[in-house]
């Protein structure tokens, strides 16, 4: 599948934003959020800003962005519509939570409840994002059980890393968040490795034989394409990446998204505050770059059954 930059930026930025919002909401309920206006302002701006940037980015790939509001209408059948509805709906409890923490200086009682509702909405939105891909049967590399946990844990991981980074800017080191990050990073790495192992060892049930229904007569190979230049289908669904490049990019993604952030986060437990702030910021930025590469690969390595009509023998 063609790796569209707008969709890659959307899923990674909004994933981190919703991850951060989730942890803030949970921390509010637990009573662990410091009543620090500066921290509240930066945390909320980063979280809600990342979500907003993601949503705007996703509308950029539309043929008619001015009609984007119509996408809120079909939540009964469409995961994309559900994602749209929830992404906007999340802003309601999130802004009330922000009013409490930033405006009134309280994250207890009703204000903490708004935080909890924000967290639930944030997780639900990430689930919808993942299910858009999971629900597509023509793309076996998305239509499997690995994709949803990958999306959820990567959002949780990047959210936790940003939470540490913002807190450390205000001289706060909350060891609970560090522990959350130290649990999320290896879990996310394992899930990603599991996903890659899965896509390397399995193939779609569909092949050129079932796509044409001619498989019983022998091997089916494209003899002559219907057109001499590329069409929309080949541009959108026919993106191919060399296996050697995919291997290298997987290694880079693993190192940037998981190995480096893990080491830096471990260092935070022993370094003085200035060192913590530096490590936390670098860990968050490097992890985001790693997840961007991971997300690019998620698209670039996905194969669509339509290419069975254009010379692919397996999808």
């Amino acid at each position: 599948m063609h790796p569209a930059l707008s969709v890659i930026v959307f899923t990674t930025a909004s994933g981190a934003g919703y991850g951060l919002l989730t942890w803030l909401g949970i921390w509010a309920v637990a009573g662990w959020l410091p009543a620090n206006r500066g921290l509240a302002a930066v945390s909320l701006a980063l979280s809600l800003g990342a979500i907003a940037v993601g949503l705007l980015s996703s509308s950029l790939h539309l043929g008619h962005p001015e009609r984007a509001w119509r996408a809120f209408s079909q939540w009964r059948s469409s995961w994309l519509s559900r994602e749209g509805v929830l992404s906007v709906a999340t802003y309601l409890p999130a802004l009330l939570f922000a009013l409490g923490w930033l405006g009134i200086g309280s994250t207890s009682g009703i204000w903490g409840l708004f935080g909890a509702v924000s967290a639930v909405c944030a997780v639900a939105t990430v689930i919808c994002t993942a299910l858009i891909y999971v629900s597509l049967k023509p793309i076996q590399r998305w239509n499997n059980g690995w994709v949803l946990p990958n999306y959820l844990v990567l959002a949780a991981m990047t959210g936790a890393l940003w939470m540490i980074a913002v807190q450390s800017l205000f001289g706060i080191l909350d060891r609970s968040v560090v522990i959350v990050a130290l649990l999320c990073i290896p879990l996310a790495a394992l899930l990603k490795l599991g996903y890659w192992r899965f896509i390397d060892r399995t193939a779609s049930r569909s092949d050129a034989g079932t796509a044409t229904g001619l498989g019983a007569l022998g091997r089916v190979q494209l003899f002559e394409a219907p057109h001499t230049s590329e069409n929309y289908l080949m541009k959108e669904m026919g993106f191919r990446i060399a296996r050697t490049h995919a291997r290298k990019l997987r290694t880079i993604a693993l190192v940037a998204a998981f190995v480096v952030p893990m080491l830096l986060t471990l260092l935070e437990l022993v370094l003085p505050m200035a060192g913590v702030a530096f490590c936390a910021m670098v860990a968050a930025v490097i992890a985001m770059l790693g997840v961007l590469i991971e997300r690019w690969l998620f698209f670039a390595e996905a194969k669509h059954t339509v290419m069975l009509y254009y010379g692919a023998e397996r999808a």
Binding site: H61, S77, L214, L217, Q221, P226
Partner: protein
Amino acid sequence: MTSLPAHPSGKRLGLVIDLDICVGCHACAVNCKEWNSGGVAAPLTDLDPYGADPLGVWFNRVHTFEVGEGATGRTVHFPRSCLHCAEPACVTVCPTGASYKRAEDGIVLVDEDLCIGCKLCSWACPYGAREYDYDAGVMKKCTLCIDKIYNETLEEAARVPACVATCPASARHFGDLGDPSSAVSKLVRDRAGYDLMPELGYAPTNKYLPPRPRRGAAEGVGAGAELAPVVAAESGGFLAWIDRLLSG
């Protein structure tokens, strides 16, 4: 509404495509382009049509496959267009309600005024039936010539999709596949018509008829016995000596 019709009428208009007869002339694809360039889905935009890298919207594409290898191999021409599935995920994934399946005849259509051009429907279609119009910013697809098949200003015989009307080999048939007594349903039964990628569960309406078994003997294809394949001479003996003498 992108939910599927709760009460479909049972009528399922669609095509039956005979892969035994198709000669791969692309007339169906060309006539489809011609009709629909002036029809309800118009324009079918072409970008750089006379340049080095033309790119355009077509609803019908004819692929040619080599099936089997060596002496048993054969060439099969394979027209590909929207199958108007009973379970069209292209409809249910649509976030805006632009994609819909008609309850009255099962035709899958796009309302271009509602389409936001997110392209998700094209990802959801295993068959590549939907093409994005880069110029109009909306998704386009086969309408089963809805502006032709119900057009009462046309003679009744002309009220068939453009691809069917133009096929010089009569490899394409149009009718109600929801009616077991229709001519197309009978054809599907008689010729063991099949679904494409049934494993994905889209339950396509359109059916494909397989190539008939090969007829190797000369009489089998109506040729005279003198045209029977030449049998290679055995390596030894009198006939082989004659063969060498004559070949020399």
